[in-house]
Symmetry: C2
Amino acid sequence: MRHAAFDPAAFRWEGVTPRPYKDDPGAARGMGWRGVARHTLVRGSFEVRYFEIAHGGFSSLEKHAHEHAVFAVRGRGRALVGDAVFELAQLDLVETGPWVPHRWVNAGDEPFGFLCTVDGERDRPQPLDDAEWGALLGDPATAPFAH
Amino acid sequence: MRHAAFDPAAFRWEGVTPRPYKDDPGAARGMGWRGVARHTLVRGSFEVRYFEIAHGGFSSLEKHAHEHAVFAVRGRGRALVGDAVFELAQLDLVETGPWVPHRWVNAGDEPFGFLCTVDGERDRPQPLDDAEWGALLGDPATAPFAH
């Protein structure tokens, strides 16, 4: 049993220390990221993390077998999920699906934050292959996400 | 891959139909509930549900092996979890733990709503035993939850 109070001014949960999004900067194509913090809120058979992306920031462009269920909770974001682009604001929901390439981007001036639930045991993110990368570049709507 | 836009005015997700909290009114001691709607948002190895409790409403007082991770997202609530009582507002987090008795109550005038994540496969809720019920009644802080 656990209670973690939320501080709306700081946008932090009691007892939860933010960490960098990943341990490495992401050398493979598309795996770079900028200005992303990870708050691990719940651990167990499923995990709930809060990711916060600073102004101008973005997550890795990646794919994996495990799925994400994402609820936007702060600011405004933009998501690439497969060949689709979604604008995200308060409590909008996105499920990525297995092996669907995805990237989260801050689309506003304030921090963009979202709750992301995943299985506790999960596979390692992978970069996109040449075909996936080429398809992104070939569509003006998705090309800005291929960097 | 799925995107469900959230409508802040209606407090609803696109394509998600609210259902009653439970199929039965709960005849066993403490298993009654009032004014609770269930919005099933995500299904899979884990599930995310949005529960909304109307003014004056409350969920069943129950226990089970599976755990809840709850984030308050609308209004103000009060939670009994084991022998503790928590006031819940925006994004406050509660994890129930296995077999810990719990009940969610609307503590304000507007609807109280929360996201609740659980394992996709889970056991059936059970009423409290005599010892648990007696312990609740024996503490003035928790006695109001034993009904």
